[in-house]
Symmetry: C2
DNA sequence: TGGTGCTGTGGAAACGTTTCCACCCTCATA
DNA sequence: TATGAGGGTGGAAACGTTTCCACAGCACCA
C-alpha cells in the first residue's frame, strides 16, 4: 500500500541527463534527437518504468481520448452487445469508454450526462429517454462535441445508429394478417421511457389500420408484472379476444408463453406471439421464437464509426438504417378456427409438437 | 461545430471580480467567503454555464475519481450484469467507470490493463485470464492501487468477489448420482482461458470420484461449435454412454438440448442436462433448466464495495463467497433404465411432457 | 570571412485546478 | 490608543504534459 510517487517525465529527463522537452520528443518520436540522447532517454524510461499520465496529456492537449457512453442499462443484453462492439471499435482507434447508465430514468439521464461532460470526454455515445429535449445534450452539441445516438430514430441534427422500428413493426402486422389474425395486441414494457417501444407500436397500429384490422390493443406492463408469470397471465386474461400478440422484446415474448401456459392457452394455436430483437436463445428454444432479428453489435459499431468520423473533424453523416429480418418461428401460426362463443380454456391439447421451422423471410436493408 | 473555448474558473473569477482562489473556495464550499462575494461568484458561474474540468482537478489532486474495469466481454450477460451493478455502486460514491474488454484473450488483458493504468485510474475492477501472473496487475498493486477481482477464486493478496465454483459443481455431481447417473460429462467452453470453467470441472470430477462414479468426460468445445447445433450434436454423439451432462454455462445447456434433438435424444430421459449461472430465461422455458443459480449483480456490487473500502484507505478484506443455489428443473431426471446394449436412437417418444417443476434446493451461503 | 541553414537542445509558458501563504481589514480586548 | 485575533481575500506554486521559441554548434557555400 506504499503509495509510491508517480514517475514523471521529469524523472526520466533527470536520469537521462537532458531536458524534459527532449525527453518528451524522444518518447513521442515527435522531433529530432541525436542517437545517443535517444538511447539514454529510452533506457531511463525503461529503467524507471515510466508511463505517460493521461491526465497531464489531456490537460495540455485539451483532448482526453475518452468517450462518454450513456445507456439505460447494461443488464439489457441488447445494449450490452452494442456497447461491447462500440468499445472494440473505439479502442482500435485509441479511445477509452467511460460508461454510465440511467436505469431508464430521464432525470438520471441528464445528471449522468452532466457528469460525463465534466469529465472532459471527447465525444458522446448515447441512448436515453428524451434526447431531443435534454439540456446537457444540447449543451454538448453547442460546445461542438461530437454526439452519436444509438437505437433512436434520428433526431434533428444528431446522427443515430438505428433500425427502423416502425417499418419492422409493420411487417409483424402483415405476418399476423397473412395468417388470418384480426384481433392483435401489443405488449409494451417501459412504454413511457422508450421511444423504441413507442415507434414499434405506432408502426404496428398504422399497418393494422392499413390492412383493415381493428386497432390493436396496447397492453402496458411494468417490469414487476413481466417478471411474474401469474400476474402477467392475469393481465393477458383481460384480452381474451386477442389471438396475436406482438411483444416489444424477446424476453417479454418468452415470458408471455409461460403466462399463456398458466391460462391453459396453447402457443401458437390459441395465441401467436412475435418478439423483437432476435436474441440468440430465441432460436434454440423447443418452440423457436418468431421475432424481428436485429444486430445490436452492428449498431454499436456503426455508432462508434460515425462518432470517430466526428472526432476526426469530418462531417458526421447519418448512416442508413441498419437491416433487420423477420425470423419465422413456431410461436406464430394461423389462429384456431373458432366460433363467436369459443371458449379458449376448453381447447383440446395439441397432438403433435409444432415443427421447429427456422427459416427466414423478408430480409430488409 | 464551433469549438467554443472552455469556460474556466478564471472566467468566473473575472466575471465576479475576484481572484480564482476565492472563486474556487466558493464553488467548492471549501473556505470562507463573504455573503456578497459568494453571491457574485455563484451568479457568474451560472451565467457562464461553468463546469469544473475533471482533468484539471485530477491533475492537481492526483486522483481521477475514475475506476478501470476489465472484463472478458460485455456480450456475456453474466459480466454485463456484474458491471452494471458495480457501476451503480461506484456512481453513488462519485466514481466513474472506464470499461475495457479483452475478448477472453490473455495478452489483450495485459495491454488493456496498461492503458487503463496510464489513464490514472484510482482503482481496478478485474476479471481476466491470468490474474496471478499479470505483470501490469502486479505493477498496479506495487503502486498501491486498490484492485478488486470479480469471479476469480481469491488470489494471493487480491480480494475477489466470487462464488465457490468447485463447491457448486460438487452439488451437481451429487444431484446426478442421487438420480442414479454414473456416466457423466462436463461440457466446457473456453476451458483454457476461464479459471471458472476449470474450477467447476475440478469440483465436479472430485465429487464424482468421492461418490465412486467413473471420472467424468471432459468435452471441450469452441464458440463456433457451440453456436452450431449440428456440429455440437456431432461432438455429443461421440459420448453416447454419457447420461448426465453438466454444461459450464446456461446458454451452453440450452444449446445442448437443441443438439440432443438433432440426435433424436430426449431430454432428460436420454440425457440429463444441468447448466450454470441461473439466467432468467432458463426458468421461463417450456422445460425449465436445472442449473446452479448465482447472482452476478450481487457479485459486481460486492466487488465495488470492497474496492470502495480500499479507495477510502481502509483495509480491503476478502468478503465471504457469494451464495448460490441449485435450481431443480425439468432437464434433470433419472436416466432411462437401459440394458448394456440399449440403443438410444431407438428410444420411444415420451408420452407426457415433463412437469415444469421449479422448486429450489440446496441453498448455500 | 561572413553569412545561411540545418540539427540538437533546453527553458518556459500554458492547460485548469487547489491550496499554501501572506496580506489587509475590522473589531474586540487590554 | 496600541495589540491581537481572525475573517476575507488574492498571488503564486504545483500537478504532468507538450510545444513554442531561442540558442548553440556545425557544415556548407559564396
Amino acid at each position: 500500500m506504499a503509495q509510491r510517487p508517480r514517475i514523471t517525465i521529469k524523472d526520466v529527463a533527470r536520469a537521462a541527463g537532458c531536458g524534459v522537452a527532449t525527453a518528451s520528443r524522444v518518447l513521442n518520436k515527435s522531433g529530432p534527437a541525436s542517437a545517443a540522447t535517444r538511447a539514454r532517454v529510452e533506457q531511463a524510461a525503461r529503467d524507471l518504468g515510466f508511463a505517460f499520465s493521461a491526465t497531464g496529456r489531456a490537460l495540455q492537449s485539451r483532448r482526453s481520448r475518452t468517450i462518454g457512453c450513456l445507456i439505460p442499462s447494461l443488464a439489457n443484453p441488447v445494449f450490452a452487445e452494442a456497447v461491447q462492439a462500440a468499445q472494440e471499435e473505439l479502442r482500435a482507434a485509441g479511445y477509452q469508454l467511460l460508461i454510465a447508465s440511467s436505469n431508464y430514468d430521464g432525470s438520471t439521464d441528464n445528471e449522468v450526462l452532466t457528469t460525463l461532460l465534466a469529465q472532459d470526454v471527447d465525444g458522446l455515445l448515447v441512448t436515453m429517454v428524451e434526447p431531443h429535449t435534454s439540456a446537457p445534450l444540447h449543451a454538448a452539441r453547442e460546445r461542438g462535441l461530437p454526439v452519436s445516438l444509438m437505437f433512436h430514430d434520428p433526431v434533428a441534427g444528431l446522427p443515430s445508429a438505428h433500425v427502423e422500428n416502425a417499418a419492422a413493426a409493420r411487417i409483424v402486422a402483415r405476418q399476423f394478417a397473412d395468417r388470418g389474425h384480426r384481433r392483435c395486441g401489443f405488449l409494451a414494457l417501459r412504454f413511457a421511457t422508450s421511444d423504441r417501444s413507442r415507434s414499434r407500436f405506432e408502426g404496428f397500429a398504422a399497418e393494422c389500420a392499413a390492412l383493415g384490422l381493428p386497432a390493436p390493443e396496447l397492453i402496458e406492463i411494468s417490469e414487476a408484472e413481466a417478471a411474474n408469470p401469474a400476474i402477467l397471465a392475469a393481465r393477458l386474461a383481460e384480452y381474451a379476444a386477442v389471438t396475436a400478440l406482438f411483444a416489444s422484446n424477446d424476453f417479454l415474448a418468452i415470458a408471455v408463453q409461460k403466462a399463456a401456459r398458466h391460462l391453459g392457452w396453447q402457443v401458437p394455436q390459441d395465441l401467436s406471439v412475435v418478439g423483437f430483437d432476435g436474441i440468440e436463445v430465441g432460436r434454440l428454444l423447443d418452440r423457436p421464437l418468431a421475432t424481428i432479428e436485429t444486430a445490436p453489435a452492428a449498431l454499436g459499431r456503426q455508432a462508434a464509426r460515425t462518432l470517430l468520423a466526428g472526432l476526426q473533424g469530418e462531417e458526421m453523416r447519418q448512416a442508413p438504417p441498419l437491416p433487420f429480418t423477420f425470423r419465422a418461428g413456431a410461436t406464430l401460426s394461423a389462429p384456431r378456427a373458432q366460433g363467436p362463443d369459443d371458449d379458449r380454456v376448453a381447447a383440446r391439447p395439441p397432438s403433435v409438437p409444432p415443427s421447429p421451422s427456422n427459416d427466414r423471410q423478408d430480409r430488409q436493408g
